[in-house]
Amino acid sequence: MAEVLVYVDHVDGAVRKPTLELLTLARRIGEPVAVHLGPHADEAAKVLAEHGAVKVLAADAPEFAEYLVAPKVDALQAAYDAVSPAAVLLPSSAEGKEIGARLAVRIGSGIITDAVDLEAGDEGPVATQSVFAASYTTKSRVSKGTPVITVKPNSAAPEAAPAAGTVEQLAVTVADSSKGTKIVSRTPRESTGRPDLTEAAIVVSGGRGVNGAENFPVIEALADSLGAAVGASRAAVDAGWYPHTNQVGQTGKSVSPQLYIAAGISGAIQHRAGMQTSKTIVAINKDEEAPIFDLVDYGVVGDLFEVVPALTDEVKTRKG
């Protein structure tokens, strides 16, 4: 069966969930071969093998952390040359898309970004995209070269499928021309202990209606009662009430959880672009005309400062 390269997104060997989703999708079109760049490949290999990686191509070089994107493209290209895959899959993060794009130029292939589903087709893998703020669903394929496809988080449920997952060292030479953009310093983001926004099954977001940083704990308390991640609209972020990394929408994170709760958010098109594919949508807004209500499965017209704490209490009681 044809091999499919899967680019591994990890933090020091801890594989992030979107990669496990990629492995699941890769098995629909061939045999997944994972590409792990950076330290702790052996730890990662266990998890990758459990999810179907027949092989793990591993490379570690200081250049991956010292320079932006391009050294990783050199490495992925080396993996591509070693395997001649039927497709290359990457997560739809900013970095995943950039690595995929540059690889596509080098190998003369087309690229599809932000796929939300992937199937085998007669003429190669067919990717589903959700476009124009999720008002259209398209099906596309790469028509020249080896398909390079980036996939959004939460596009598939990771399935266990034990495979060999043998680690093989990948020889990588980082070209001088790939050392153009120096990473002078890096400040890791502090963990809040809450689930990652793009991976969470439930997201609770607050908007301008939250009316101040000092009120965001109301949103956080509901999120914590549900084991959810916290999101925010750009209005809330721009006002400095919540960090930009939590912004949901076109220029923030795009989320697709099982449940999305929007409190004090009107539902502007740019916000919808980032959450409209959520399975169940709930909104709390005091304006019954708010466009967000056009999307909801359940909406409460009311003051979020009444409704949200009452809901939080109720969740806590029911959960015991």
């Binding site: 900013a94 540059r102 932000d114 124009f132 953009t181 890791p188 549900l226 990394t245 009311g302 009444e306």
Partner: protein
């Protein structure tokens, strides 16, 4: 010596309009009014600030798009860019990302450049890959997704806020930069700016000028093929209740029914 800045700007259908696909599965551009992608206003703004901080700089705005895309160039010129280049050719209809990057790269080389500035993503395709594609094609550093950027002493520096970390980046010119909507609000064109824009030069180029064959771009030359585009059925109307003291409880009931609690 003058710092030559090229800003890539895209003409896109207004996101607040009712956007559609045409029969050939390309974007229906007649259907909804077009405008300069709002995210590219941030690119123009940062280019203007870089110019203001430099001794001597010149900003060229560049677009690849249909005749109407001229509107996007005018907007950028009225914000303060110095001149414009419009790549326009019937054979460009249906060009994908790889093709667009080919055309942009050739046009940038023809124009001459020290710094290329892009938005973080267009508001229609929203791929966010063009800046990286350009860096690869031009063989120069990419300094992308910046929330802060500055240029001095032949170097560009900036901050990239990623998922797990915030990074400080640095590259020697020439380089490709892309900026996010966190980089600073774009200015509004002044009346004077709008009047001045009318007199600024707009150079028009076609594929022949760029020595690109028609079959390298357009729908036929595309590296990707859209096979189907279906309008998503509107979500069926949900239950909406007014909170009269029981809203939180009713919502909890709904969530429990859906097995979220």
């Amino acid at each position: 010596m003058s710092l030559r800045i090229v800003v890539c700007v895209k003409y896109v259908p207004d996101a607040t309009g009712d956007r559609h696909f045409a029969e050939d599965l390309t974007v229906d551009r007649d259907d909804v009014d077009g405008l300069l992608s709002e995210l590219d206003e941030y690119a123009v703004e940062q280019a203007l600030q870089i110019k203001e901080a430099a001794d001597d700089a010149e900003i060229t705005v560049l677009t690849v798009g249909p005749e109407d895309a001229n509107d996007a160039l005018r907007k950028a010129l009225s914000m303060g860019a110095d001149k414009a280049v419009h790549v326009e050719d019937d054979d460009l209809h249906g060009t994908d990302a790889l093709g667009t990057s080919l055309v942009l790269a050739k046009a940038i080389e023809k124009t001459g450049y020290d710094l290329v500035v892009c938005g973080m993503a267009s508001t229609d395709g929203t791929m966010g890959v063009l800046p990286a594609l350009l860096a690869e094609r031009l063989n120069i550093p990419q300094v992308t997704q910046l929330s802060e950027v500055s240029v001095a002493d032949g170097k560009v520096t900036g901050r990239r806020d990623g998922d797990t970390a915030s990074e400080q980046l640095e590259a020697a010119l020439p380089a490709v930069v892309s900026v996010t909507d966190q980089s600073g609000e774009a200015r509004y064109p002044s009346f004077k700016g709008i009047m001045a824009a009318k007199k600024k030069p707009v150079e028009s180029l076609d594929l022949e000028d760029l020595e690109i064959e028609a079959d390298e771009v357009g729908l036929e030359g595309a590296w990707t093929k859209v096979e189907d585009a279906a309008e998503r059925p509107a979500r069926t109307a949900g239950t909406i209740v007014k909170d009269e003291g029981e809203g939180g409880k009713q919502l909890a009931e709904f969530l429990a029914g859906q097995k979220f609690i």
